[in-house]
Amino acid sequence: MTLSSKNPPASSALAGSAQTRRTSPFLRQVARIVDWPMAALQRLIGERRMPYVFLLPNLFFFGLFVFVPIAINFWYSVTGGPALFPSERPYVGSGQYSYLFECGSYADPSSCREDHFWRGVYNTVTFSFFQVVAMVGLSLLTAVVLNMKIKGRGFFRAVYFFPVLLSPVVVALIWKWILQRDGILNAWITAMGGDRVLFLTEPTWAMFWAIFVSVWSHMGFYTLILLAGLQAIPSDIYEAAEMDATPRWRVFWRLTLPLLWPNLVVVIVLALIRAVQTFDEVFVLTGGGPGTSTLMVVQYIYETAFSNQVQNFGLAAAASVVLGIVLFALTLAQLAYTQRKSS
């Protein structure tokens, strides 16, 4: 475990006043001022109620900026019209939902009244599936490589992590710049004697690059989680395998992978949730095109609420409630899994 004492320069950049001995007198002052009323509060309400005090500030902001908006959002989804204030919106019952779900056949988006929503759903499913597979595969590969005895490991680890810091808009902008008709990738292809490829105008290519760019920018985070898992595997297990002269791939398959499984589950679940939420990076990269072939469900929601002249908050809210329920189910599945594992 890395404790603060090992990293004085970095820790002083943080607000932790635990280093009161070393940090500024200002912080020490703060600590002293806060200690007293908190102790008094504890005497007043008793130790058993203190957890609520700790929870309160966070829950307050949660309530105000997450729960209340979710409630308003739900109200939007059962009302119609262009009005912004909830009280001015006429109640339409399940009208928005039935409009959203009015389909000849759910397998064919073009038979649906609101075909863009369903195209968004199918694109998001395709995107999420391949993105998660690629993400897990490549993070695992990178983590295994980074776990080898290699010179400059710290440097390489930082290299792979670096894109995680870029904003989705910047990531998409950079890649758009590279992939466009006159971009550097096409310059390279033509220099090698090939023909220009319209990477963002062919549906399959566009989806490929949307996935590629998304993996490129988030892979570093998952790699580190898996690396942590790999490093936690005791070395004597491998030594035993070495004694038996077990082939390397079998060691990986039979030993490493099962031991890494809990970390892999975290990676799969987090990656999946993020993939379903994808919006700005794909939006800036492809604009949802060509046609609607990379239109994601969150982009559909955003555009329904904002981009049209009649800003349709009701329909957008209904779609977001549906998305919310799906995401919540995914989360519950994760909870169920982890709880079964711990029991």
Partner: protein
């Protein structure tokens, strides 16, 4: 602790296995793939508007060489011309009429040539178009935007660290009524992207009278579920004896949190710090909705005013992207060791 992996498990430290070579090749490819695009952005941001559009693009920012000749008030652009006899020479262009260019020899300006325009190639030299940076910075209240962005990022990160760690402390150390409900709330909201509840949040902020205040950007995102989740997972791994010992010493709950648990949680706090800085610094859609006055613009809003209805001024957009990216990159360079080890140690188990 000696770190063993499947690969090193059977390896004598001195001999090279093909997997080592493959690993290095993969890593070097990684450096190219991960840094290359960002480097390309940086180089492109120094190109002039015209050379940004060129195909094939030049690697380095270039601009056309010009000469000032006697008898010509304006500097003349230089071209390499393929002459009719197949030889090539450098000429200065006086003017172009249709598909013919009138050119002179820089060494002897009285000697004139008529050249078809597809027979000439510009002579170029390395030049940085620093005006991509200076012009927008002069035109906009850049120091103000920077101050606002720094204020938002710093204050929001401090608030996030404080309230998230308090909540995580409550959820990891104590058993109390409603704990499961609170946990469910945290994890449930982990999944809600703000994009889809933008309008309701805007309504709440309006009712609070916070529109056009930096607090409207700071507060809504302060209670991050991700932060609570991350810190709680880490705090669960802390040894309980320390806390019990402190209770024996009559430390108050606040003191236990502030003086014992917080210092031990530093690696996870470092991770949350960098994520929070990153989120806040890069935030675009939400500030765009609540900030409409120049004096409260953050960098992301102020520097995106180049995106018009019908035109985007790419040379400025790229330069300003580099501007906003640089501070985060610098923070990362200084904190990278701490961040990467921090995440690795955060468990997430």
């Amino acid at each position: 602790m000696s770190i063993a992996t499947i690969v090193t498990a059977r390896r004598d430290a001195k001999s090279w296995h093909w997997t080592d070579i493959a690993a290095y090749a993969y890593l070097i490819l990684g450096v190219f793939l991960m840094f290359g695009p960002v480097l390309w952005l940086g180089l492109s941001s120094f190109k002039t508007q015209a050379s940004l559009l060129e195909f094939p693009p030049s690697l380095l920012p270039m601009s056309q060489k010009e000469v000032t000749l006697p008898g010509f008030p304006q500097p003349l652009p230089l071209f390499t011309v393929t002459m009719e006899d197949g030889s090539s020479r450098v000429l200065a262009q006086v003017r172009r009429v249709g598909i013919q260019a009138q050119m002179v020899d820089p060494a002897d300006p009285t000697q004139q040539f008529r050249v078809a325009i597809d027979k000439r190639v510009p002579v170029r030299e390395f030049a940085l178009a620093t005006e991509n940076y200076t012009e927008p910075l002069e035109r906009f209240a850049f120091p103000q935007f920077l101050a606002n962005s720094v204020f938002v990022t710093v204050v929001a990160t401090l608030i996030t660290l404080l309230i998230n760690s308090m909540a995580a402390y409550a959820l990891s150390i104590y058993e109390f009524k409603g704990k499961n409900a609170a946990m469910l709330a945290v994890i449930g909201t982990l999944m809600i992207p703000i994009t889809i509840i933008l309008v309701p949040v805007y309504l709440v902020v309006t009712k609070l009278g916070l529109v056009n205040s930096l607090w409207a950007v700071i507060l809504p995102g302060a209670a991050t579920p991700t932060g609570v989740f991350l810190l709680r997972q880490y705090m669960l791994t802390l040894p309980r004896d320390l806390i019990e010992a402190a209770r024996m010493d009559k430390a108050s709950e606040w003191q236990i949190y502030w003086r014992i648990v917080m210092p031990l949680t530093l690696p996870a706090l470092a991770v949350l710090t960098i994520f929070s800085i990153m989120w806040r610094w890069n935030e675009f859609l939400w500030p765009l909705a609540v900030l409409t006055k120049t004096e409260v613009y953050t960098l992301q809003i102020g520097l995106n005013a180049f995106q018009g209805e019908l035109q985007t001024q790419w040379q400025y957009l790229l330069a300003m992207t580099v501007m906003t990216l640089t501070p985060v990159a610098v923070v990362f360079v200084f904190l990278q060791r701490f961040i990467t080890t921090g995440i690795a140690n955060t468990g997430m188990k």
